[in-house]
Amino acid sequence: MQLETVERIIQQHQAQKSALIAMLQDVQNEFSYLPQDVLKHISRTVGVPLSRTYSLATFYSSFSLKPRGRHPIGVCLGNACQVKGAGKILEKFERQLDIKCGCTTPDLNFGLQATRCVGYCGLAPVVTVGRDLHSKVNLNKVGQILKQYSKEAAPVKG
């Protein structure tokens, strides 16, 4: 099933070398990370060295070589958000999820990243969860956000 999906993605971009980034974006959206096997398969099919595909996978922050979780949380640490207390919001997420920034919870429900400026400075502090944007986040909203996306009674520190 994974191979079929990857083949479909490659063919949608006509296996063009110039579309490598777009292919990796589709894989990231599909699997929430870039599996090693998939990188190898794409490299072979498109006809580029694995080192080139790997360099793209590690250069761009929207790609991850490890699963990012069902609900990847991004806390913006751009300057406008920093000025409004984003650092403390990140720390509260770390405490509540009991993971460090850059990691994923053991049940793979949440991943936590610090992002650079996402370009929504008027809404600072900004937190993204997947494609959802949460604006003017404060310390009290951290728990509300986690509750919104928790599927079951996942172990969350209160």
């Binding site: 250069f59 761009y60 640490l77 000025v83 650079r116």
Partner: protein, 592 residues
């Protein structure tokens, strides 16, 4: 039969995230329920600009401005204003420091002080409907350019306008167009650097039209719009606009039967700040890592796929149609002698009015911060402003009368950059701000050139030590020395500008650095390792009644106390995270 009222509800990302579309849906439902839909039209527009008070709506043709709207407000609005004709006072905007609402949008200083060129259609049309763009004279400039002007005449008007690149570097656009036109190599390409989402969300056709006119002047055949992956709404709208333009014959072969052909595609970024740099964008479009190219050759000679390429910021392209419609001289009258025209600024940070504005170049920081921005909230003191983005220089409050144009910003150590204006008040620590900005630059450094890759790391290490209380006075000289090398020898704008926050804070706020190093104190209490936290026992017991919230939330279990008794912090266990300070509503936690 024309509508008697049009309700322009803001559908920009900022208002949408505050549920403006729910408000719009409730409004539409109520209007239909009351059988008013033949006389009242609801339109979801692009960003109105006044993001700080969203969701917003403008009632046309009277221009009445409503703010902070929720679906609960709908019945009252419809009954009182749209049926009985009486605007609802409690939903109108009240300027800070006053009591009286200001009903009309153009009487509100946030709007009346602006001059809209790139954002000329802001709030006036649905960006997803080409017919509304056409009804606002959309593609009329293109028609004029293709049917009444030669490519040289188009180029002349852009040169006369004095337009300079709005991506940050301010390179004269006419000169760039001339170089691409004269360069050898086919096909020629145009690229739109979509690092800024506002125009693409609000008026995407203006960018397409600008690129079409540019293509005609330079002889380009293909164009690419590069867009950050963090901008899904902008991406959706530019894709839609390109499809619509193609359907109507504004893109493709033999446009308007002129014999001229041009088409556009979209390239999406994958998350890297460096990809705002012109040559990096070209690398990304070619499917590679976004490492900047060595220049020369410049993109005008050898750009995308080795062919002559004109790469400009989205705001630059959006300026082109009015230059052709109204003439280059018209734009040249706005702004200053060397910085003609307007610039879009994002007002963010510690300001009463945050949002997006377009002002004539040469306006002062004072006007931006106080007259448009409304000043600093919570009676705090204005301390500094960073202009141009995270690698922009930081300007102190005493330079508030600096005119904002390319030359004057460079003189004070800053830059136009992206036009982001981050306002900081007395609670900001300038050393910590410099550290945070440098951390960003260091993280985003592509690693290709040694000065940027190693130099930013060295500077960051020094700044981190200073904010943690381990700085030495020699560090200040080291910082300046390393910054000079990085600024002069880096391969691209990221490295050369990464030093701006450091150098400007050393220039204007040196005393704060000295305090951190010699006294091990952070005057703004932002550098937590230099703080000591204690609980005032009187406030805790008399006001807080020993509520225990801080004790329960303290991650180190460093707070001791019983309910209804004053609490205290064990400094040996305290990690100085500041959680207790943030949570205590009674202000019993004191920072020293």
């Amino acid at each position: 039969m024309p509508y008697r009222i049009q309700l322009m509800v803001c559908g920009g990302t900022d208002c949408v995230s505050n549920r403006s579309l729910e408000f719009r849906d409730a409004l539409q439902k109520e209007i239909e329920k009351r059988a008013l839909d033949k006389e009242i039209q609801v339109v979801a527009t692009g960003c109105n600009g006044f993001c700080g008070v969203g969701p917003v709506m403008v009632v046309q043709p009277d221009g009445i401005f409503y703010q902070r709207l929720t679906p609960k407000d709908v019945p009252l609005l419809v009954e009182e204003h749209f049926v009985k004709g009486k605007p609802v006072k409690k939903l109108l905007y009240v300027p800070p420091g006053t009591d009286a609402p200001v009903p009309k949008m153009m009487d509100i200083p946030f709007f009346s002080r602006q001059t809209l060129v790139a954002l000329r259609n802001r709030g006036l049309l649905d960006p997803e409907k080409i017919d509304q763009y056409l009804a606002s004279d959309g593609y009329a400039a293109l028609t004029r350019a293709l049917t009444q002007m030669t490519p040289e005449e188009i180029l002349d008007q852009v040169k006369i306008s004095g337009l300079r690149g709005r991506g940050g570097a301010g390179f004269p656009t006419g000169t760039k167009w001339e170089a691409v036109r004269a360069a050898e190599g086919e096909p020629k390409y145009l690229i739109c650097n979509g690092m800024d989402r506002s125009i693409l969300e609000t008026d995407p056709h203006s960018v397409i039209e600008g690129m079409l006119i540019g293509a005609r002047a330079m002889g380009a055949r293909w164009g690419v719009v590069y867009i950050r992956n963090e901008y899904p709404l902008a991406s959706k709208r530019i894709h839609m606009a390109i499809d619509q333009a193609r359907e109507r014959g504004f893109l493709g072969e033999n446009i308007l039967a002129s014999g001229f052909s041009f088409d556009l595609s979209v390239s999406q970024g994958a998350g890297a700040f460096i990809c705002g740099e012109a040559t990096s964008v070209v690398e990304v479009v070619e499917g590679k890592m976004g490492e900047p190219r060595t220049r020369p050759p410049h993109l005008a000679e050898k750009g995308l796929w080795g062919k002559p390429t004109c790469l400009s910021n989205v705001e630059t392209w959006a300026n082109v149609p009015p230059i052709i419609s109204r003439g280059g001289k018209w734009l040249a009258q706005i702004g200053t002698e060397k910085s003609r025209g307007t610039k879009i600024f994002s007002l963010v940070g510690k300001l009463k009015n945050t949002g997006q504005i377009e002002m004539p170049l040469g306006v002062t920081l004072r006007e931006i911060v106080y007259e448009v921005g409304g000043g600093i909230p919570d009676d705090k003191k204005f301390k500094a402003v960073q202009i141009g983005g995270t690698t922009g220089g930081i300007i102190p409050s005493q330079l508030i009368d600096t005119p904002v144009d390319f030359e004057n910003l460079a003189k004070v150590g800053s830059m136009m950059g992206s036009g982001t204006v981050v306002v900081m008040d007395e609670d900001a620590c300038m050393v910590d701000v410099a550290r945070s900005c440098l951390s960003f630059a260091q993280d985003e450094s592509c690693g290709k050139c040694t000065p940027c890759r190693e130099g930013t790391k060295l500077m960051l290490d020094i700044l981190t030590r200073i904010t943690e209380g381990h700085g030495m006075m020699e560090d200040l000289e080291s910082l300046e020395g390393i910054a000079k090398i990085v600024a002069e020898t880096s391969a691209c704008g990221l490295g050369t500008t990464a030093t701006n926050p450091v150098l400007t804070t050393l220039r204007y706020f040196r005393d704060e650095y000295v305090r951190h190093i010699e006294a091990h104190k952070c005057p703004a209490h932002a550098c937590r390792q230099l703080n000591t936290y204690r609980i005032d026992p009187e406030i805790c017991s008399q006001r807080g009644h020993g509520c225990g919230v801080c004790r329960r939330e303290c991650p180190e279990k460093a707070i001791i106390g019983e309910k209804n008794q004053p609490h205290r912090i064990d400094v040996n266990l305290c990690s100085k995270c500041g959680t207790c300070l943030d949570l205590c509503h009674f202000h019993a936690v004191i920072v020293e």
